[in-house]
């Protein structure tokens, strides 16, 4: 097969399927109750029921298709658990794992998407542990970040040993992060591009000022690059590529968060306006799995 940067017919169909299923979730719910995050549970359920979360298990599909799904879902204002279920669960089981599927390196920390009835995978350094959350009620954490976070009851911290190379778990965690960050960055950037065309100061659209334009162009390059690296990593399956994609995306997200907020002014700091749904997620993901520097440093031996 020749090098090809276009999606193939199946991938294009997957994207348009996700697009039409999530169409009504692109905007904010009405009425929109201002809060730190919008629960994506209903969307996850719909995607799961429609078979999208099994994409990696389908003939001829794999991590690339999973990454397309994670990226598309991350562009919604809702916090939808996808990376764990779509990219990581297939490492653990041939069948779907009870979702949401959360991943962490410290079972005692506040954990993203930790929920009753779901699954937790713990990167415990030299081993992987798994926690079945059936009948377990995690304690929700009140946080300004735009994801649901919760803590695991202490009795459950240990979980069970699972026969999986922790490096493999880390690799797919990184890949999922890269895809999720790319989707959220694109959405924050798109919202900002629309805003700077509308918002007028000094009698003109603020998007016509070169000081604003160049920074948005730089951000566009970074989002484009993060997407390329993520897709390349999904296709190669190389641990180095996954680490580079995650590290690059995490670093780029800092600039994208800063720029998109700067150009929204105080408007972006309100809970009524949707920018924070993406940027507060990006802020949460910035340090996950160790953060850009630790991930990069950890992968240097693979260069």
């Amino acid at each position: 097969m020749s090098m090809d940067f276009d999606l193939n017919a199946d991938q294009a169909a997957l994207e348009s399927g996700i697009r039409s299923l999530t169409e009504r979730y692109r905007g904010l719910p009405t009425p929109h109750e201002a809060g730190h995050f919008l629960s994506g549970e209903a969307i996850a359920r719909e995607l799961r029921e429609a078979g999208y979360y099994d994409v990696a298990r389908q003939e001829g599909m794999g991590p690339l298709e999973s990454v397309l799904l994670v990226e598309a879902v991350a562009a919604l204002p809702y916090a939808v658990e996808a990376a764990g279920s779509v990219l990581i669960a297939p490492l653990v089981s041939r069948d779907a794992l009870p979702g949401p599927v959360a991943v962490c390196s410290d079972a005692g920390a506040a954990i993203r998407f930790l929920a009753e009835g779901g699954t937790l995978l713990v990167d415990a350094g030299h081993e992987v542990r798994i926690v079945d959350l059936a009948g377990v009620v995690p304690e929700p954490v009140d946080t300004p970040f735009a994801y649901p976070y919760a803590r695991l009851p202490a009795a459950k911290h240990k979980g069970e040993l699972f026969d999986l190379d922790p490096r493999k778990l880390r690799q797919y965690w990184q890949l999922g992060l890269a895809a999720e960050i790319t989707g959220a960055m694109q959405a924050a950037l798109d919202l900002t591009l629309e805003y700077v065309k509308q918002r007028k100061q000094f009698g003109r659209a603020i998007g016509s000022f070169q000081a604003v334009q160049h920074r948005l162009a730089e951000s566009a390059m970074q989002v484009h690059s993060a997407r390329m690296l993520t897709r390349a990593a999904a296709m190669s399956g190389s641990p180095l590529d996954c680490a580079m994609a995650a590290s690059y995306a995490q670093e780029a997200s800092m600039q994208v968060v800063y720029n998109t907020h700067q150009f929204h002014g105080a408007m972006g700091l309100t809970l009524e306006y949707p920018l924070h749904y993406w940027t507060q997620r990006l802020r949460a993901l910035q340090g996950e799995a160790g953060g850009a520097s630790a991930i990069a440093q950890g992968a240097a031996g693979l260069l």
Binding site: L7, N8, A217, S225, E251, A292, S293, A296, A300
Partner: protein, 379 residues
């Protein structure tokens, strides 16, 4: 979607590498200093390029009807990656392959194609690009070199600056004003031995003959030197810039230098430093982003699609990839750079100094991204 090379592409890369291994002298790196603007590399290219052509590696991606091998655009890119990483032993003949030949093929008359394209395909032509002027750099359309009708042709007066490789060029791809409107510009294919053309070297930090001034005093040329029609120069420039901006795979040299830098740092025990390790991966990631981004443009070319707005964004990613490597070298191998005894590292460091300037400054690229890719309102 697939980012893997085919076995045919891999075999082609091996062919290029084998050719380089056989043709480059053992002391190539020290003699050439990987400076494609030097007299040494120019003299080398005079025999190297015809041999490259004889081996079917000068224009492998051009149609067979014009002396090419009929291969896809990826072959061109593989060739460019290998040549650039080796310090560009084609000297400035890479420009012929990247944009001068294709632009003449697109806009040239049968006579111009006959005169120039065959020589390029045979590896015999040395060109320079007469675009920039003292008062027309980023604002290229402000150029003042003027051509006025004279006899059966044109009389050209003015001057060009920063012209790479002009010392050795036999022909100049020249832009001159043929009207008072800002974009009333015409492209000329000017023989450098025409009376009235004078060349002066401008010493620079990058390479021996990277920069020149070219003075044009009452230079008379015939009608057959006009490319693409009188007043059509700005349209011609659009084609040129698309091919030029995603033309030289700059990351190929800087990433090779990064790998060499890591070798040295490992030998010194410095690669245990977590800061060095993290920064090295960061450089690599930016280089890989530039590489994939560039390949996505090549994919468009391979599919025969028209140039798109993404070209400038892709070029900007090359600029940033080079900048990170340059900063890495400066911080962690400053002593090697000062000692100037590692040609690969020294050359990559020098080259990266121009990545954000050559072919249009990075800020001009960002303007173009803003306008054509993000569709923001004009200033």
């Amino acid at each position: 979607m697939n980012f893997d090379w085919t076995s045919e592409h891999d075999a082609f890369r091996e062919r290029v590498r084998d050719f380089l291994a056989a043709e480059l002298p053992p002391d190539w790196e020290h003699e050439s200093r990987l400076d494609n603007s030097s007299r040494y590399v120019y003299e080398f290219a005079r025999t190297f390029c015809p041999r490259l052509a004889a081996a079917g590696l000068m224009v492998p991606h051009w149609p067979t009807a014009v002396g090419g091998g009929g291969l896809d655009a990826y072959h061109h890119w593989i060739l460019n990656e290998e040549m650039w990483a080796a310090g560009e032993p084609r000297a400035y003949q890479y420009m012929n392959v990247n944009w001068i030949g294709p632009t003449i093929l697109q806009y040239g008359t049968p006579g111009q194609i006959e005169r120039h394209v065959g020589r390029i395909a045979r590896g015999e032509a040395f060109w320079c690009q007469g675009f920039s002027e003292p008062n027309a750099g980023s604002d290229l359309a402000a150029l003042r070199t003027r051509a006025v009708p004279s006899g059966n042709g044109w009389r050209i007066n003015g001057s060009k600056i920063w012209t790479s490789g002009a010392s050795f060029a036999d022909t100049c791809f020249l832009l001159a004003r043929t009207g008072d409107g800002k974009r009333e510009i015409t492209a000329f294919l000017l023989p450098m031995n025409t009376p009235g053309v004078e060349v002066r070297v401008v010493p620079g930090i990058m390479g021996q003959r990277s920069f020149h001034e070219v003075f044009l005093t009452d230079v008379d040329v015939d009608e057959g030197t006009v490319l693409g029609g009188v007043g059509q120069g700005w349209k011609v420039v659009g084609t040129v810039l698309h091919f030029e901006r995603v033309g030289a795979p700059r990351y190929a040299l800087s990433q090779r230098a990064l790998m060499r830098a890591m070798e040295i740092l490992r030998e010194r025990g410095r690669f245990d430093d977590p800061v060095v390790r993290a920064r090295a991966v960061r450089c690599r990631a930016a280089g890989e982003a530039a590489r994939y981004n560039s390949l996505s443009v090549i994919d468009q070319r391979a599919k025969g699609r028209p140039p798109s707005a993404v070209t400038n964004l892709v070029r900007y990613s090359q600029v940033i990839g080079d900048r990170l490597v340059s900063e890495f070298l400066g911080e962690f191998l400053g002593d090697v750079l000062v000692a100037n005894d590692e040609p690969l590292i020294a050359a990559a460091y020098k080259r990266t100094a121009s990545s954000g300037i050559a072919g249009g400054s990075a800020e001009i690229l960002l303007n173009a991204v803003t306008r054509d890719y993000l569709n923001l309102p004009r200033e």
